[in-house]
Structure formats: structure tokens, C-alpha cells
Symmetry: D2
């Protein structure tokens, strides 16, 4: 019998990128300089201030002249949330119609806050860890059992010759899926609203798994566009 695997991690892996903070500045300077090819000696020193200005005044288009492709791996419930981002995002994902999906399911890690806190509200959800080990592992056991049972029915259907698209219908949301995602600094900053940060101007309360994906993506973004990222944080995480 196929062994069913359970894990909790979210993986965002760098594939390719183009652009830099300097490119943001060049695209912005075309407004005021026009067709100028050479840059002046003191231009580099002006870039941090310029980027901060663009961010603060929400001039967003200069942040679109860059690109980043990642390969992500996470549960389908995470992807469904991510796929809602339509602007500045391109996706290609694992297909439940063209291949047999691998028996890998997400489950919460031991340290993940799980229980709705007493002061949790739908608008401001708040969770606390499950204290009892016994309760936690009983919960996992139940989850694992039903996921494994679903996967058995799935395989049985495939063995019967049922088309993939129908067979996969019994698979739980927690099944892992791989996606190629291409985005740009501006769209990354829009996704970053999916990070709960009480320093942010508009505080968001995403589910922890989409937040984990957004944080890993943001870390890659920070590496290649450090000034842009710093200006984003400084200006209350309001995407331009």
C-alpha cells in the first residue's frame, strides 16, 4: 500500500529574477529626464531617497520593472488563497487531471497555535497552542487516518480507470501541490498584506500557512530589492 506522508513545511524556492533597486530608480527617472542614457556620479546616492518618495506617495509603476519566479510547494488550501491575487501574478501548477497527485499531506506542526482564543473574533482571529500532547496527537491521528483513507479511494479509482479529474475529487485540501509563480516587486508588496504585522498601517490576519509563504517570498524580495523593501516597511507596509 502506498505510504502516505505528512508534513508541515511551506517551501518557496528562488528560480530567477530580473531588476534591482537601481532599475526602479531608472524607470522613475524617465519621467523627469526622458531619453537620457548616462547617469550622473551622484545618482546612486539619491536612490534610497527616491524610492522612499515613490513608496510614500504611492507611485507604483516604477516597481513593476522587475520580475521574480519562484517554485512553491504547499497545501492546496494555501494555493487557493494565493491564486486570488490576479494582478501581476502568473501561475503554473501541478495538475490533478494530467498526473497522479503524490500522497503528501499537510498537518499542523506541534508548535502551531491552533485553538481559537477566547478573545478571537472573525475580523481579528487569534489562536493559542493546544496544550495537551495527548489531544494534539489524537487530532493528528484522526486527520492522518481520513487523509490516508481518501488517498486509498483515489488510487482505487485510478486503478479502476476512472479519469484523474474525477478520482481526485475525494482528496483533501491539505494535499501538497507545486506551482511556478512569477511576480514583480509591486505585486509582491500586495501579497505582503498577507502578513500579520502590528506595525503595518493596515493590519491583516491571514492564515498562518499563506503568511509563511508570503514571508519567504518577502525574504527573497528583500535580498534583491533591499532599498525597496526597507521603504515598504518604513511606510507602514502599504503597497504603492
Amino acid at each position: 500500500m502506498t505510504e502516505v506522508k505528512f508534513q508541515s513545511n511551506i517551501e518557496i524556492e528562488y528560480i530567477q529574477h530580473m531588476g534591482s533597486d537601481e532599475m526602479v530608480a531608472h524607470a522613475a527617472w524617465v519621467s523627469t529626464r526622458g531619453k537620457v542614457i548616462e547617469f550622473k556620479p551622484d545618482d546612486p546616492a539619491k536612490i534610497p531617497g527616491l524610492i522612499n518618495y515613490l513608496m510614500k506617495h504611492r507611485h507604483g509603476t516604477p516597481f513593476e520593472h522587475g520580475g521574480l519566479t519562484i517554485r512553491g510547494y504547499g497545501p492546496i488550501f494555501m494555493w487557493i488563497e494565493w491564486l486570488r491575487h490576479r494582478i501581476g501574478f502568473s501561475y503554473n501548477g501541478e495538475s490533478g487531471r494530467y498526473k497522479q497527485l503524490d500522497p503528501v499531506f499537510w498537518e499542523p506542526g506541534r508548535d502551531r497555535p491552533l485553538l481559537k482564543a477566547i478573545d478571537s473574533t472573525p475580523a481579528r482571529p487569534k489562536s493559542v497552542p493546544m496544550e495537551s500532547d495527548e489531544e494534539f496527537y489524537a487530532m493528528l491521528r484522526d486527520k492522518r487516518e481520513v487523509c490516508a483513507a481518501c488517498y486509498r479511494v483515489y488510487e482505487q479509482d485510478l486503478a479502476r480507470g476512472v479519469e484523474n479529474g474525477v478520482a481526485r475529487s475525494v482528496l483533501p485540501y491539505s494535499i501538497y501541490s507545486a506551482y511556478y509563480v512569477t511576480c514583480n516587486p509591486r505585486s509582491i508588496m500586495a501579497l505582503s498584506l498577507r502578513v500579520e504585522d502590528y506595525e503595518a498601517f493596515f493590519v491583516s490576519h491571514p492564515q498562518r500557512e499563506i503568511q509563511e509563504a508570503a514571508l519567504q517570498l518577502e525574504e527573497i524580495f528583500r535580498q534583491y530589492w533591499p532599498l525597496t523593501h526597507a521603504a515598504f516597511v518604513k511606510n507602514g507596509r502599504v503597497g504603492p
Copy 2:
């Protein structure tokens, strides 16, 4: 114990619309007439020819001056495919984080072709009906059992106080979900590639459930934009 329901239908319900074939024509005529407010007596007679011309030559923008909102109800695996349409589509859907999802799951109807045909290929999938009643109902029984088991674990988690987003992770793809979708004639024609039509210029092989949604949407579209729809079909179902 909560009763779990199984069904096979896809529902696309009209909510509101604006626009008409005449509006497509008016938007197109602004190119050649500019700021003209009154239309000429023989203009109505010219509309079918104009719309056919726009479609044939792929002048797409006049088909964007309209709108249609529907409420759809179908399994989540259908929505995941639909949500991949980013341009000219707006979505609001039932949330697995803000509410308890209803125990309604999709299962194939008796007459739905299910088995991969001998000459089926990934690029050109083809299915035939399952002949044996016994085999069909055995398959359904297995599906129902695991879906019901998953829903029990889901409810148990909710009863334990587990946050909705985590609890729903064990629910199968076949669970029903409701969405408001707003689109326009041009984006509807792009979705219509999700209809297998051997008269089409580019033949598509969608999964039957997304095709059913696309067909119902197309039928509403046909009612309010009959000339546009006729021109679309006449020109090989190639969206402009």
C-alpha cells in the same frame, strides 16, 4: 450526527447585468464617429455585420463595455480551475476561514462518462461511461464513506476549538462552494474555451464540471448578447 449530502449538479444563477449588442456597437462606433450622440435610422440594421466584423478581426475592446454577475455553486475543484481566469473576472467566495462549510459534496452522476477510453491521451482525454451498475455504486459508496469521515473529523476539530482554517484542511476537493462572479462579454468568451466543441477553431478538452459551468454561463450570455454570441460561434469560438 450531521447528515452529509451528495449531489452532481452545477448551478449558475443570474444576478445582474448591464450592456447589450447595441452597446457593443456604440462603443465600436466611437472610433469612427467620435462624439456623436444621436444614431441614424439605419444603424440597428448594421449592428449584426459590425459585430461579426469585430469578432472576425479580433477587435476585443468593444466587448468589454458590459457586465454580468452570477452566483455559482459547485465543487471546489471546479472553482480552482475557474479562478485561474484572472482578466475580466472578479470573485467573492465562501470562506473556509469565516464559516463552517456545509456538508455537501459532489459525486459523479450515473450518466457521466468516467472511465478513460482506450484511445484517451493526456492531450486529448476521452471518457466512456462505467457500464456496471454494481461497480458504479461501489465506487460511490467508497467516495461517500471517506467524504463523510472527513466531515466528521472536521466537525470534531471545530468542536475542539481548532481554528476553521486548519480544521477544513481535511475536507475533500469535492465539497461545494458558492461564489459571486462578475465578468464581461469578452472574458466570458475566454472562459468558453472550456467547452469541448469540435466545431471550434481551437478544440479544448476541459473537465466536464467546469464545462457545465461555462455552458450555463454562455447560455445567460447568449440571452443578453445574442448577436455577439452568434458571431462568436460563427467565427470558430475564438474570443476576440
Copy 3:
């Protein structure tokens, strides 16, 4: 000789719309209510609060389930700015290739502030009226003269048989053009950043003519979505 006309007004004319504040609420409620068709007696009373909540927390998608088509008439320099809005905007405009453009040009009205103020900066432009009537009308006379001269060369080229697209190349930016524009509440709020309002959270400094267009559009929006508009203003004019 063709008479060349000069004017200063911007016209935004209502053509069609769909949607309402109530529709925004219905689209939002699908998250928490799912496939519910009937609304409760006290739902209407909840709509203002709900819309304010969505606006404040920047939940934007419910504001996309509506549509508005307008016919606008203004100078091409205004349209070039407007056309930069790509998301949630559809355009069809008068074509300089398919028709002879009408001899109607924009010029500033007598009361329009025109002169850069002493404390004007590129980031915070500020204008004051031209005091001298003599100077103002001398300026107009010069503008009118060159616009009329350009139009004469344009007509001469057309008479010579020069293709429209080349002939129009000498026409000034101030020539009027008509456009059909279709948008939705969310995209209208994004355009509304083109209004200089010192109560706004992010103050913008648009050119007066695009601001005039945005204000007229906003007034139509306010009529059909009064609660949405009120929430937009209340929340610092930050589009969700």
C-alpha cells in the same frame, strides 16, 4: 476654411451601470453565509457598517461586482493620463486613423490657475491665476493661432491623400477626443487618487483637467453607490 473651435470643459456623461451598495454587501456576505438566497429583515441596516468595515480593512473584491460605462469628452493630454489606469478599465476611443478629427481644441478658462506659484515644487505643484487680462488673452491668441495652423496643415495633408495616421501627427495634444470607458467601484476609487484633497490620507497633485474628469466620474459613482462613496471619503480616500 474650417472654423477651429476652442473650449475648456470636460464632459463625463452617464451611459449605463449595474450594481449598488446592496450588491457590494451581498458579494461580501457570500464569504460568511455561502449559498444563502434570502436575506434577513435586519440586513439592510447592517450594510453601512459592513461597507465601512470592508473599506477600512481594504477588502477590495466586493467592490468589483458592479459596473459603470461613461462617455467622456476631453483633450487628448487628459486621456493619456487616464489611459495609464489599466486595471478595471476598458476603453474605446475616437480614432485618428479611421476618421477626420474634429477641429475642437482645449484652452484654459479665464479662471484656471496657470502660473507656477513661488512655492511650487515638482512633487507639490501649485498654481495661481494669471492676473493680467492682457497677458492671458495674448497667451490664448498664440495658442489659438498655432492650433489653427496645425489643423490647416492636417486638412491640407488629408486633401493631398495622406493617410489619416500620418496627417494627424501635427495635431496638438489639446485636441478633443471622445471615449467610452467602463469601470467599476473599485477602479473608480483608484482613479480618484487623481483628485487633490488635503483630507485624503495620500494627497495627490493631478493636473486640473484629469482631476475634473475624476470628480465628475466620482459624482456619478456617489449617486449609485452612496454608502460606498461615503465610506471611501471617511477612510481617507484610500481605495481598497
Copy 4:
């Protein structure tokens, strides 16, 4: 007095890119392979066939995992047409509000077909060269005169302290402007409809200047994505 310059060329200059034909294949393979990191020895040999398959069947998303930034320089009437492309295009352009525009205007080259042919129709425009040198240079002289006159009024207004945005209103459409444009293989193929090619499945009749821009862009695209470009041409230049 400022010297006014006239020229006919369109410049599209490579700035940066990411992606390749191989990346298109990798993004497509995630559908059928999922989270596979290593590629097989015979994969490279399969890439041309795969790309042709994707193009033929209009699977467009794999072509979005790439990016290209160019700096373009051309008359504003060309940019207005280009700016109509909203999807997969990002723009930053020279601003008539933030800087004084340079006195550089477009005029047709001697060899450019200019006169509407006898069998030209609006739907199928066709031009032939102007035979008489005398007529051609008389035409240029008139164009140059009015463009120079407009520029003088523009400078005079600026000298008077008139705000840039108003002063520029008398400048002709033929004035040059610089833009940064970022796009991707899929959006480039959509722009390529702006090339008149009688081998294409849908023949387009663009103005020569936007066609020149599209051709130069296509040439850069061909260099970095040769297999994708070949498949595009082979399949009748129908963008996927």
C-alpha cells in the same frame, strides 16, 4: 531660438530580461511532474515539440514566466496606441508635467508610403509612396513650420511661468517621448498583432510606426526565446 529637430526613427533598446525557452518548458512541466527538481537527459530534445504544442493549443500561462524591459523612443501617437495594451505591460514614460519636453518631432521618411491607395479601405488600409519629391518636401516644410511654431509657443508659455501641463497642450502628437516598458513573452505576442503579415492567421493593419516598434521588440524576443518565437510564427502568429 531653440533648434527644433525632426527625425523618423523608432528606437527599442534592450534593458534587461529573465527567462528562456527552457523556463517555458519547466513551467509547463510542473503540471505533469509536480515538485521535480532534476530534469532528465532527454528533456532538452523535447522542448521544441512541447513549446509548439503549447502554442498550438493556446496554453498561454507557461509563456508568462519570463520578463523583458526595454527603453523605447518614438512619437507620442505611437505610444498612445501601445498604451492601449493593458495586460502584461508596465510603463513609465517621460512626463510633460515634470520636465520640459525636448524639441524633437517625428516626420515621415522619404521612403514611407504615405498616400492612401485607390483600393484602400478603412478596414484594410493601404498606402503608396508619394512620387513627387517636390510635393513630399513641400509637405515636410509645412509640417516642420507648424511644429516649430508650436514649440515656440510652448517655450514662451514656460518662460511666462505657465505650468508645464498646460504649456505642453499645444505640442503636436509627433513629439518624441521615452518610455520604459516591461512585458513578457505572452504579452509580446499579443502586441505582435500590430504587425501586418499576410501569413498570419488574423491579418492586422497597424500604422507603420507602431508596427516598427512591434517588429523591433519581436526581434529582441526572438533572440532570447528562439523556439517560442518560431512556434509563434509557425502557428499563424496567434498569441496563446
